[in-house]
């Protein structure tokens, strides 16, 4: 007799749940109303300004004929190549540099701290300001870069933005310039979080320098590095500003990426559906990335 009552008391939540219980959980009456009232603003914002545009976009880009037209467009074909190059080089070079530099900034001393303060400037200065400056800096005739190259080294610089490959290179380098500081800070925090005992023990065991990095630091940072790489891939895929301001998609539409091509199709040549189609054609890459990222970010307590 006693035991049954104990069991009953022990699991009140498991008792036959009514629908209202299912919805409310352990919150009661007024408290539940408050809790709902507190989430409603976010849900409203999400439904109106994220979910609705997604549905609208899918509807706009749902005709198969759009994609036939899109794939036949030579500008689209170059854009795909550019996007792949931009992703492959932009993300990986930047992340690798950030990994190395985060190690450099682990050094003690005021000099390193001061250097770090300067180093994060590109990230703190607004994108439009810096990319406009880079655009003019790379001007073939009057740009600062060619002036400096000529005055200091007597080298005749190229017309960087008038050639597809140098223009695309300029975009990639600009991206690396702008975002390496951010990821360096993240990886630096990851390195700082490695307990001192681990590093000390490893040092006693002879794991210093490169060996310490390969056997101790990197394995501990690997998961963080992977998540950063994936996140950075998604962010870069949606990048608009770098290409738009540095190369403007030129010369002759040869340096677009999917983000800028979508806007160009929608607004410059006034074919919004074709613009949506350009963006939607990235879905085969976006969906797996998003699934992997959501799983990683949700389940894995990243070892920071």
């Amino acid at each position: 007799m006693d035991s049954t009552s104990v069991v009953d008391v022990g699991r009140p939540a498991v008792r036959r749940g009514t629908l209202s219980q299912f919805l409310r959980g352990s919150l009661k009456g007024a408290e539940y109303t408050w809790a709902v009232a507190f989430v409603v603003p976010y849900i409203a914002v999400f439904v109106t300004f994220v979910a609705y545009p997604i549905v609208y976009g899918v509807w706009m880009g749902s005709e198969a004929s759009l994609y036939r037209e899109l794939f036949a467009d030579p500008i689209y074909q170059t854009t795909v190549v550019n996007t792949v190059l931009y992703l492959a080089l932009g993300v990986n070079v930047k992340m690798f540099l950030a990994l190395l530099l985060s190690g450099f900034f682990m050094r003690p001393g005021w000099w390193t701290k001061l250097l770090l303060l300067i180093f994060v400037l590109p990230w703190a200065v607004p994108q439009v300001s810096t990319f406009v400056s880079i655009h003019w800096m790379l001007n073939g005739e009057w740009g600062f870069l060619n002036n400096a190259l000529y005055k200091l080294f007597h080298i005749e610089g190229a017309h960087w933005l008038n050639d597809r490959w140098t223009a695309l290179g300029a975009v990639i380098v600009s991206h690396i310039w702008k975002w390496t500081p951010f990821w360096t800070l993240i990886l630096l925090a990851g390195r700082m979080a490695i307990p001192l005992e681990i590093r000390d023990t490893a040092r006693v065991d002879g794991a210093t320098g490169v060996r310490g990095f390969v056997y101790i630091t990197f394995p501990l940072l690997a998961n963080l590095y992977l998540i950063c790489t994936l996140l950075s891939t998604v962010f870069l895929l949606g990048d608009f500003n770098t290409v738009y301001f540095v190369s403007g998609g030129g010369p002759a539409n040869l340096t677009h990426v999917l983000g800028t091509l979508g806007i160009r199709n929608a607004f410059d040549i006034a074919q919004p559906r074709l613009g949506v189609a350009a963006v939607m054609s990235a879905l085969p890459l976006v969906i797996p990335l998003v699934i992997v990222l959501m799983r990683k970010l949700r389940t894995a307590e990243v070892q920071l």
Partner: protein, 302 residues
């Protein structure tokens, strides 16, 4: 024999000095490497910023020259921006006010909506809160630029085009998820018993939120607010698409309009770019520590 022993002794002594020298050389090389790397980093980092300053200090019409050091330092262009004296800049202060208004609204709304959501899910533990977390996560990983075209269409249909609030809405929608994650993560460090004891004392959920949750979360709120403000300040695409009249547009849109002209007044553009960059740089350096902590929490952990 003895000759050999002496030779051996000499050789070992030489080996020792050689080893010493090797250590010294290596240390010297390491120091040189550090200095070289530091110099390279500084040059690399400052180059585009130096370019900005150099050109902004040019007097009018002297932009098309080839010098690489400022010859005549002229603040004419800064003065021109501040007094709106160039025809391109006739609405500068209006546009700057628009940028500030937009940044402030995005910051406030992101803080309010993000903290309310985080309170309901993290502290009150509303049922199915994980659904909302997933929705936020999804928003966080979808590139905002991919939704720009349908968003523009929708705003046109609602007659919201050329209205600052359409941009504010979009930016709040994209900034809130990150805010939510940082707040959730930070909230875990505050024991739930704090809330519970207040409730036992008869405080309503709203009172707990206002009097206990918000004050305790202040450091995370600073990080989130800074993030939202910087996001708004960095954004261009939505502002460009949605704001078209001279009096409703923000500074980045006006700045980009220079680019499309044949005779861009580069010194004025660079002065505008520098003035526009001052608030976020100041805010970043003021809240740097909190920002970095927040970034590593929410930006990576989720």
């Amino acid at each position: 024999m003895s000759m050999l022993a002496v030779d051996a002794a000499l050789a070992s002594a030489r080996a020792v000095t050689r080893a010493h020298r090797a250590v010294r050389v290596r240390r010297y090389l390491a120091a040189t490497g550090t200095v070289a790397l530091s110099v390279a980093l500084v040059v690399w980092t400052l180059l585009p910023l130096y370019n900005m300053v150099l050109i902004s200090l040019e007097p009018e019409g002297d932009v098309f020259t080839d010098h690489i050091w400022p010859r005549v330092v002229s603040v004419e262009s800064f003065w021109g921006v501040l007094t709106q004296s160039h025809w391109y800049l006739e609405h500068f202060w209006r546009q700057f006010a628009n940028s500030i208004y937009m940044g402030a609204m995005v910051t406030i709304l992101t803080l309010v909506i993000g903290s309310l959501t985080s309170f309901s899910i993290g502290r009150m533990r509303i049922r199915h809160g994980w659904l909302v977390s997933n929705v936020a996560l999804l928003t966080y990983v979808i590139p905002a630029s991919f939704l720009a075209i349908p968003f523009y269409r929708i705003m046109q249909n609602y007659g919201m085009a050329n209205n600052l609030w359409s941009v504010i809405a979009a930016l709040v929608a994209f900034a809130t998820p990150y805010a939510f994650f940082v707040l959730q993560e930070y909230g875990r460090s505050i024991p739930i018993e704090v809330d519970e004891s207040a409730r036992i004392d008869g405080a309503s959920p709203l009172q707990v939120y206002l009097r206990i949750y918000l004050p305790l979360m202040a450091p995370a709120l600073v990080a989130v607010g800074t993030y939202a403000m910087l996001l708004a300040w960095n954004e261009y695409l939505y502002q460009f698409l949605l704001l078209s009249s001279k009096s409703s547009m923000t500074v980045p849109v006006a700045l980009a309009q220079f680019l499309s002209s044949d005779q861009s007044p580069w010194n004025y553009m660079m002065a505008t770019a520098i003035i526009y960059a001052l608030p976020p740089v100041a805010i970043y350096y003021a809240f740097r520590r909190r920002m970095t902590a927040g970034l590593t929490m929410g930006g990576v952990k989720g």
